[in-house]
C-alpha cells in the first residue's frame, strides 16, 4: 500500500522554497510564505505522525516500483517523530528568523535555503534507501554551506572553509561505504540490505563496511575524534542559523547512525566497543572543551558534542532500554538545543555580545526572560523533572546492566560538568552585575513590541514543548519504547517495506 501522505512534509518545504525563489527580493512576501510553509509542514507532519502511530509503518514506493527496485519512502514511528520535531524546531526558527535575520540575508535567499534544509532533513528521515539518504544528506550539507556563508564576515568564512572541507570528506567516506555495500549486496534499499547483509558469508567485511559508515556519520554527528568542524564553525553564523544547525544537523548524523546500526547492521562486539569508547571520549572532550569557554555560543557548541556522547553511548550499549533512552534524548535534545541557540540570540540582541566577560545583570533587568531561560538551561542539564533527566535513567540503567562502568563514569562526569558549566554561566551572565562598557546599545528594547514578541514567542513555545517532554515524560517514553522495540525487532519494518 502506497501512501502519498508520507512525502507531503517534504513537498511542503520544497514548494515553499520554489515559491520563495520566485519571490526572490520581496522580503515581506517571503516572510509570509516561509511562515505559511513552516506551518503547513507542521500540520502535515503531525498528521503523518498520528497516522503512523495508529496505522503502523507507512510506505510510499516512489514511481510505483515496488521495493527493493524503486526508492522507498518509509514512515515508521522513528522517522515520523523526527519529522514532527523538525517541523516544530523549524517553525520556531522560522518565526524567530523573521525578525532576527538581517535584510541582506533575506534578500539573498535565506528563507529559500532554510526551507531546502528542512526539506533535506525530512527527506533524510523518511527515505528507506541508502543512496537516497546520501542524496538528502548532500541537500542538507549544501544548504548548510550556503547558510553558513550567507553574508558572512571573515570569521564566518574561515569557519565555513573548515566546515565545508570536513563535511565533504564525510560525504566521500559515506559514498565509499555505500559503494562497497552495494558491491557486497547488490541492493540499496535499506530493508533489503538488512536481509542481504544477514546472508553474506564474509561477515568481517560487512563489519569493516559498517565502520566506514560509522566514520562517515561520525563526522556528521561530531563524535570524537571526528568533531573538529563543529567548534570551528558553529559559533559564527547568526543565531537563527546556529539554532537550526545546533538543534538538527548533528542529530541527523545520529539518526542515520541509529538507523544503519539497528536496521542494516547489527553491531558486533567490536563495533559496540568502538561506539562506547568513542562515546566516552566524546563526553569527556565536549565537557573539557566547554569548561573554559568565555563565549557562550562556543560553550554551547562544545556541549552539543558532549551530549552527542550520551546518544552514541546508548547506541553502543544497544539494549532496548538504552535505545529507548537515546531516542528520548534525541527528542529532548533537538528541542532544547534549538531553543538554546535562539535564547542566545535574544541575549545577543539585548547585550550585543555573547562573551561572558561582557555580559551580566540579566536577572535583574529581565526576570521573566531569565526564568524562561532557566527552564531551557536546566532542561538541558537534566534537572529532574525537566526533559534532559529522563533519558539518563535509561542510560545509567543499561550501562550498569552491561557493566560498562567507564561509560557510566563518563555519563556522570558529563552530567556533572554540564551542570557546573551551566550554573557557572548562569552566575556570570544572569547574576553578576553588568560590567561597565563604553557603548550600551540594547537592540532588543529598540525593537517594536510586535517584533519583540516574534522573538520571544518561539523561545516560549519551545520551552513549553520541553516542559511537556519533561512533565509528560510518560507519553514520550511510550513513543521511545515503541521505536526501540522496532529497532530491536526489525521484522515490522521489513514486512512493511518488502511485503506490500
Amino acid at each position: 500500500m502506497t501512501d502519498n501522505l508520507l512525502i507531503l512534509p517534504i513537498f511542503a518545504h520544497l514548494l515553499t522554497a520554489i515559491l520563495l525563489i520566485f519571490a526572490w527580493s520581496h522580503i515581506n512576501l517571503q516572510r509570509v510564505i516561509s511562515l505559511f510553509g513552516h506551518f503547513m509542514a507542521l500540520v502535515l507532519s503531525l498528521h503523518l505522525f498520528s497516522k503512523t502511530w495508529k496505522a503502523g509503518i507507512l510506505t510510499m514506493q516512489a514511481g510505483g516500483w515496488k521495493a527493493p527496485f524503486g526508492i522507498t519512502f518509509v514512515s515508521d514511528t522513528f522517522s515520523a517523530t523526527f519529522v514532527v520535531l523538525t517541523a516544530i524546531a523549524g517553525l520556531a526558527v522560522g518565526i524567530f528568523s523573521t525578525v532576527s535575520v538581517t535584510k541582506a540575508r533575506m534578500q539573498f535567499g535565506y528563507f529559500a535555503i532554510s526551507h531546502f534544509l528542512m526539506m533535506g532533513l525530512n527527506g533524510a528521515f523518511l527515505t528507506g534507501d541508502i543512496f537516497n539518504l546520501y542524496v538528502w544528506f548532500e541537500i542538507v550539507i549544501i544548504s548548510s554551506f550556503v547558510l553558513m556563508t550567507l553574508a558572512g564576515k571573515k570569521p564566518q568564512m574561515e569557519g565555513a572553509i573548515k566546515y565545508v572541507a570536513m563535511n565533504m570528506l564525510a560525504s566521500t567516506v559515506f559514498l565509499t561505504a555505500i559503494a562497497i555495500l552495494y558491491g557486497l549486496t547488490g541492493t540499496l534499499n535499506m530493508a533489503d540490505l538488512s536481509l542481504k547483509v544477514a546472508q553474506i558469508e564474509k561477515k568481517e567485511l560487512v563489519s569493516v563496511t559498517s565502520l566506514l559508515f560509522f566514520v562517515g556519520f561520525g563526522i556528521k554527528s561530531a563524535v570524537f575524534p571526528l568533531y573538529f568542524w563543529l567548534p570551528s564553525s558553529y559559533h559564527t553564523p547568526p543565531s537563527a542559523i546556529a539554532a537550526t544547525f545546533g538543534g538538527l544537523l548533528t542529530k541527523m548524523g545520529v539518526y542515520a547512525m541509529m538507523r544503519t546500526f539497528t536496521l542494516v547492521f547489527v553491531p558486533d562486539a567490536f563495533t559496540q566497543h568502538v561506539l562506547i569508547a568513542c562515546a566516552i571520549l566524546t563526553l569527556f572532550t565536549g565537557a573539557m572543551g566547554a569548561l573554559n569557554k568565555t563565549s557562550i555560543r562556543r560553550m554551547f557548541s562544545y556541549l552539543i558534542i558532549c551530549h552527542i556522547g550520551f546518544m552514541i553511548g546508548g547506541l553502543g550499549l544497544h539494549t532496548h532500554v538504552a535505545l529507548a533512552a537515546v531516542v528520548f534524548y534525541l527528542i529532548h535534545d533537538i528541542i532544547v538545543k534549538t531553543n538554546l541557540f535562539l535564547a542566545t540570540g535574544i541575549i545577543h540582541k539585548i547585550r550585543g555580545s555573547t562573551d561572558i566577560r561582557r555580559l551580566g545583570g540579566l536577572y535583574e533587568e529581565y526576570p521573566k526572560l531569565s526564568l524562561l531561560m532557566a527552564i531551557i538551561f536546566f532542561s538541558m542539564v537534566g534537572i529532574p523533572p525537566l526533559s534532559g533527566f529522563w533519558p539518563k535513567i535509561g542510560l545509567f540503567q543499561s550501562s550498569l546492566d552491561q557493566r560498562s562502568y567507564i561509560l557510566l563514569a563518563a555519563f556522570i562526569l558529563a552530567s556533572f560538568f554540564t551542570l557546573y558549566i551551566i550554573a557557572k554561566m548562569w552566575s556570570e551572565v544572569f547574576w553578576k552585575d553588568l560590567p561597565k562598557r563604553p557603548e550600551e546599545t540594547n537592540e532588543f528594547t529598540e525593537l517594536p513590541f510586535f517584533k519583540q514578541t516574534l522573538l520571544i514567542v518561539p523561545v516560549v513555545g519551545l520551552a513549553l514543548v520541553s516542559l511537556y517532554i519533561g512533565l509528560g515524560a510518560e507519553n514520550i517514553m511510550i513513543i521511545s519504547n515503541r521505536i526501540a522495540t522496532n529497532m530491536i525487532d526489525t521484522g515490522y519494518y521489513l514486512d512493511a517495506v518488502l511485503n506490500k
Partner: protein, 117 residues
C-alpha cells in the same frame, strides 16, 4: 583491468588525502575533487564491468539479448558527479571569497577567532 582500476582508486584516494593535508586552499579543493573521482571509480568497479556494451537496449529489441554493463552504478555515479559538481563549484567560489577577505591561500592563517579560553 580491475587491478589497474583498484590501483587507481588507491592512488586517487591517497593523492586526495595528501593534497587535503597541505596548507593551500586550492590543494584542499583539488584533493576533494580527486577523492570524488576515486569514489566514482569505486562505485563503477562495484558493478560488473563489461567492455563495450552500454546498458542501452538495442533498437530492434525490447530486452537485452547480450551482456551489458551494470546500469545501477552508472546512474549512481551520474548523480554523484552532478552533486559533487554543485558542491565543488560552491567550494571554488567560497575559496575565492575567502581569498578576497584574507588575501591568502594559506589555510593556517584562517584562525582569527579560533582559540580562546
Amino acid at each position: 583491468m580491475e587491478y589497474l582500476l583498484i590501483f587507481l582508486i588507491g592512488l586517487l584516494y591517497s593523492s586526495g588525502i595528501y593534497l587535503m593535508l597541505r596548507k593551500s586552499m586550492v590543494k584542499l579543493l583539488l584533493g576533494l575533487i580527486l577523492l570524488g573521482n576515486g569514489a566514482n571509480i569505486l562505485i563503477f568497479l562495484m558493478g560488473d564491468i563489461a567492455k563495450g556494451q552500454p546498458p542501452i537496449i538495442p533498437r530492434d529489441a525490447s530486452i537485452f539479448t547480450q551482456m551489458y554493463a551494470d546500469p545501477v552504478p552508472q546512474s549512481l555515479i551520474l548523480t554523484a558527479i552532478v552533486i559533487s559538481f554543485g558542491l565543488q563549484s560552491f567550494a571554488i567560489i567560497l575559496l575565492k571569497r575567502v581569498y578576497q577577505m584574507t588575501k591568502s591561500d594559506n589555510l593556517d592563517t584562517l584562525n582569527t577567532h579560533e582559540i580562546d579560553i
